[in-house]
């Protein structure tokens, strides 16, 4: 069995048998990889806490036919701050869930790895509720299905943009409105995010809660529409939707 090294982020883990786990990672060079971490649930495991979801790790794996086998793990960076905050943890897990859905097994997708690492690093240094939607929108843009937010998707007019439609893929002017209403402030944030100015958006602490909620809700519905499934992690502590 050939041995190889890579860096990656743990996206999720499943219990396997008595004391093992199947770990799903997004790696820099090999794309999504599923590997068995033997004995990880024992207190004496050499892997310890290194293979928890959201961990950024350097791994040494044995290549298997379907599942690889984890041989060694080293943490690249520690995300203690994220794990002490409930909102940050659930947002971080939602980021992992989205990336897991977008990635393909053994198909290199360094951009997914890079974007997830960046987002998790920012989440750990300073929590912002806008980080998750920002990542979701940038991922959609990378996939080629990013929303059009600077002109009406029907008439291409740039004035009086008042609504946004997930199915239509962008904003609409007052004359052609069909989707949900969007405030000028929320629209400005979407434009900034899609222009790549994420840092300035997440550092802005003066935004009203309603605006943040609008952006979070749009980011989630746009991603759910693309994935054709619900994002479980981000809907966990919310009231069920009608």
């Amino acid at each position: 069995m050939p041995l190889y090294r890579d860096v990656g982020v743990v996206l999720r883990t499943h219990k396997l048998g008595e004391s093992d786990r199947i770990v799903t990672l997004i790696t820099q060079d090999s794309g999504k990889v599923r590997a068995v971490a033997k004995g990880i649930r024992k207190t004496t495991s050499k892997f310890g806490s290194r293979l928890e979801p959201m961990s950024h790790v350097q791994v040494q794996l044995y290549r298997g036919r379907e599942l690889d086998i984890v041989n060694q793990v080293e943490l690249v960076e520690v995300t203690t701050a994220t794990r002490r905050n409930l909102e940050a943890t659930t947002d971080g897990l939602a980021m992992c869930e989205v990336v897991e859905q977008l990635a393909h097994e053994r198909s290199p997708s360094p951009h997914l790895y890079r974007m997830l690492v960046g987002a998790l690093r920012q989440l750990n240094s300073e929590y912002s509720a806008l980080l998750l939607p920002a990542l979701q929108l940038r991922l959609l843009q990378e996939e080629g299905v990013g929303p059009c937010v600077d002109r009406c998707i029907v008439c291409s007019g740039t004035e009086d943009l008042v609504a946004i439609d997930v199915q239509g893929g962008g904003v609409q002017c007052r004359h052609h409105r069909r989707g949900t209403a969007i405030s000028p402030r929320a629209l400005a944030i979407l434009q900034e995010v899609l222009d790549g100015r994420i840092t300035s958006v997440v550092r802005n602490n003066d935004l009203p809660n309603d605006t943040v909620r609008e952006v979070v809700s749009y980011g989630r519905s746009a991603m759910e529409h693309h994935l054709e499934r619900r994002i479980r992690s981000s809907s966990l502590f919310e009231a069920p939707r009608p």
Binding site: K46, M54, L93, A94, R232, S233
Partner: protein, 194 residues
């Protein structure tokens, strides 16, 4: 014969090879011995249920830990599964009562608080005069999320919420400890002789 092997192989920790070995062993054993085993399994399955108060396994409405008058009712230990109660009881250090959540919040699997015995936990606090809730959950992401969620829920009710200390296993070497565990052990340090 094959049906027996297949059924045995479905048990946790029993692979097809072990299932075959157990099956052959049972076939060679005394008929009375096998009857004893099947009766024991049937009886246990038929009579054991969840305790109405703490959701631990019990043969009666309330389990033996809930009905033990000598136990301290002001301290409640919250665990994920019944087997955690067994592990904690073995330490002999805890004399309070337990509450089994029957799982942990798992955001990636969509397991939320409504799937666990959280509401039942809240309903126990006042009638039993609980003053401290000890969260004894697995030290992984699911356990952490559950602990943070419960702490947020319980603290406004005026209950002291504590969590198991996290750190190095007794008998282990420091150099093999992972960064997170060692970091948590360092954060939770205490004065010698306390």
């Amino acid at each position: 014969m094959q049906a027996m092997i297949d059924s045995l192989a479905r048990l946790p920790g029993v692979g097809p090879k072990s299932a075959q070995r157990i099956a052959f062993h049972l076939l060679k054993s005394d008929v009375e011995e096998v009857k004893k085993l099947t009766n024991a399994i049937q009886e246990a399955r038929g009579s054991v249920r969840f305790c109405d108060r703490c959701f631990n396994f019990s043969e009666t409405t309330y389990c033996h830990l809930c009905t033990d008058e000598r136990r301290d009712t002001s301290v409640l230990c919250v665990v994920e599964e019944s087997r955690d109660v067994v592990a904690l009881e073995k330490t002999g250090q805890f004399r309070g009562r337990y509450h089994v959540l029957l799982g942990a919040i798992n955001p990636l699997e969509g397991t939320g608080p409504e799937h666990l015995k959280v509401r039942e936990l809240l309903l126990r606090l006042e009638p039993e005069g609980v003053q401290e809730v000890i969260l004894c959950l697995n030290p992984n992401t699911e356990g952490d999320v559950t602990a943070m969620y419960l702490a947020r829920l319980l603290k406004p009710l005026g209950v002291k919420v504590t969590q198991l200390a996290m750190g190095l296993p007794v008998g282990g070497d420091l150099e093999y400890a992972d960064e997170v565990t060692l970091g948590r052990a360092l954060m939770g340090r205490r004065e010698v002789g306390e």
